[in-house]
Amino acid sequence: MVSTIRVKRKAREILLYTLILIILLWTLLPLIWLFLSSIFPYKELISNRLNHWIPSHATFKHYLSFFNPEKEISSRFLSALRNSLIVASITTLVCLFFGSLAAYAVVRIQFRFKRTMVLSLMFIRMLPTITLIIPFFIIVNLVDTKLINLFGANVHLYDSRSLLIILYTSFTLGFVIWIMRGFYLTMPEELEDAARIDGLTRLQTVFKIVMPLSSNGLVATGVLAFLLAWDEFILALIFTRTENAVTLPLFIAELGSQYIHDFTQISAAGVMACLPPFILVLIFQRFIVSGLTMGSVKG
């Protein structure tokens, strides 16, 4: 009797660890392949996969070529990296600042159109970016025609980082308000009351008490917003063309020509584009998970 229970438990354990192994393989194999592809010499990567899984002459030259000013690809890569970092960071900071204040007000203050506002926030959250591209495109064209007439050909919105930041706000701000709203709904109100009794005005309370207290929520939301902006593709596809504004996703999507797809280069660029999100996810893992669940608070 005892031994059958023990055998059963052992069998269960083996099953559990087998399942975990399968899950890990499913998760990691594609990523390992991405990394291996990036350190293959091109000639070796283009070979039969029956026996060529690990490069016999591993090389980091594809990575180095991104940072070597003599290579043609270097300036394109570096400008794309810079554009992505700038656009994603500024979008995140702006939306985090305004969005968290608005979210706080929506949760704590009673006002007449509160229900309408929460409902419209939900609709905005559901709105696909594709619904906005045509009006954006027409408006940007009209504005640019005016700007070029007024200030000459060098002043335009199209193909500029400022335009991307404005456009990225359209999907980031609503997202930030929605998630921060979930955070404030679960934050106890007592401390704020105490602060007010101590003589702080309401605005002081917001900046001196509420904001420091919500640092966890702000970090979680900030990381998620950054990842969202880092990942954006269609707006960059339509509104950028040169090194002024092309972002990393667009750069990677357009690597390779019609005839040759050099996947060593593409994989290396892919690994580079993964690094910032990976670092953020590994450092802030716990915050991110709480952020994901904050956004799912009903209401």
């Binding site: 399942l19 029956l50 706080y104 906005l132 591209i133 359209s170 593709f233 996703p249 893992q285 998970v289």
Partner: protein, 313 residues
Amino acid sequence: MTRSEMSTKKLLIILVLPSVVIIFFVILAPIMFSFFISLNKASPKLGGIDLHWRGISNYYNFFFNDPQFWLSVRITLYFTIVSLMVELIIGTGIALVLNREFFARSLVRAIILIPWAVPTVVNARLWEWIYAGNDFGALNGILKVLGILAKDHNVVWLGFDTPFADTPILGSFFSWMGVSRALNMIIIADTWKVTPLVVFLLLAGLQQIPKTLYEVGSIDGANSWKKFWSITYPYLKPVYLVILVLRTMELFRVFDIIYILMQYSIRVVGVYTYEIGMKFLKFGQGATLSFLVALFILAFTLIYIRIFYREEV
């Protein structure tokens, strides 16, 4: 009006106004403009656009005179529904496994989240390379090593053949839906990236369930299947609703991965909208389509909420 009421109103304006103004300029005004455009035949001209009033005929034409529109809707529905099912089944399975006690659990959980952080574009190109339809492709290679595929044979994974084309009813159904092998493979690639999100939302839900419930269940002699449906599922129901809403709206609007891998050859509604609006520069019809996409997503959400709340009564 008392002083505190005054200050509340002022506070509200200070806190909310910037966001309201931004949202008005980057979302509400463009949407209203877009609705106006959708009622016109609109095309670009030098320094502006050419408008001809059409009323609702753009909408009418998509609904009644455009077979491609309905084919796009069917393809998108297939992509959405199949992806959802795969994500939910695999996600639930992984979440149940990771919810158990085991060695290095927090490390494993951290690893599981990684694919979710891979940018969509990188994910697309990664799977494009895995699916390469020649000797170089990793999927072909693995299947050959495992002996599933003949050594001199290669499958073009991102090809257009209809699955089960020779099976009588299934084959014609799939070809009517616009299903191709490429579409199915893209579903797998997309599932790989987003399942971690489903897993983590479910894990958060699983942690709310008191352990004692399962002990009671064991005493009553319930097996694992029964325990899942009678104990776990009721607790997870709100989480499933959130996942369904979130994922449906993301899946139905899909554009990036399909456009990068297939350009215009798999016309989900997102790609069709982009093609009409941005490639052919038919702004009026493009705006119409983009509104229809948004309406579909809204309809889905309302249906989900209806179903889930009716069950609760």
